[in-house]
Amino acid sequence: MKFLYAAYIITWVVLITYIGILTRGFKRLQDEVRDLER
């Protein structure tokens, strides 16, 4: 059972980390766009 849970948890950790990286990228670019508009 521990192997099953490990596989499912790792899948979601990788996916959530990637979504987090994309969200951070959006925020950083939004700040840059704001700076450029000034």
Binding site: F3, A6, I10, T11, V14, L15, Y18, F26, L36
Partner: protein, 233 residues
């Protein structure tokens, strides 16, 4: 556009929840491997999305080499990056499934090795793109993607062409191939759910890359506008 994205994201979330329920509750426990076989419902759909992303990257890269269009370039990097994410999951969940079933985490058979090589090719692709400052690097990256796609074909065919530790195809590999209909149900829900997730991530990454391209363009324009002032000084 934003509302379409939100609706699709909610739909994907619902599909993934249904997929998790079908994999953990609805699907019967496999007789030989036991509960660990349920890794199949995540491992195979992730491999499926990976094998959609890389050929898509190949086609878009070819189109980019012909047309040199920034939209195609953004789509190429999006499919490659999402493909790497799913390939990473495949390379992590595979050994976790292999250890209790085979007794080993890893073996250098054709399927496993070609998948690792595929991951390395596309990580190189992303590194090449990340550190490219103008110049011909998107072209070099697109050329690398062509080699990546050849390896993706090899990954797909490896278990059909060679004797491997990795199991033979579950579907269409002989008269005794196939699975229980309840397992098939859980499997197809997860295939659909992960395909939606793959599309959603490519969509998100594509939008991000387009903004990045526009910001880079604006920076270049700003630098050009500042140039005559510096020269006249």
């Amino acid at each position: 556009m934003k509302s379409k994205f939100t609706i699709f994201a909610l739909f994907t979330f619902a599909m993934l929840s249904w997929g998790l329920y079908a994999a953990m509750i609805q699907a019967p426990t496999e007789a030989t491997m036991g509960p660990v076989q349920r890794i199949f419902y995540y491992h195979v759909p992730c491999a499926w999305v990976m094998l959609l992303c890389f050929p898509a990257n190949f086609l878009v890269s070819i189109a980019y080499l012909v047309k040199r269009n920034a939209l195609l370039d953004a789509l190429a990097v999006s499919t490659a990056e999402v493909g790497v994410v799913f390939c990473t999951i495949v390379l992590l969940t595979g050994p976790i499934w292999g250890k209790p079933v085979w007794g080993i985490w890893w073996t250098w058979d054709a399927r496993l090795t070609s998948t690792l090589v595929l991951w390395l090719i596309y990580v190189s692709y992303l590194i090449l793109r990340k550190f490219s400052i103008g110049g011909p690097n998107p072209v070099l990256a697109a050329s690398l993607a062509i080699f990546g796609c050849i390896d993706a074909v090899f990954v797909f065919g490896a278990i059909r062409w060679f004797r491997t530790q990795h199991p033979q195809p579950v579907f269409g590999s002989g008269p005794n191939s196939g699975i229980d209909p309840r397992m098939l149900h859980a499997f197809f829900i997860n295939i659909a759910a992960f395909t939606c997730l793959g599309i959603l991530l490519v969509w998100l990454r594509f939008v991000l890359e387009r903004i990045h391209q526009k910001v880079e363009e604006a920076h270049a324009m700003k630098a050009l506008a500042a140039l005559p002032a510096k020269v006249s000084r």
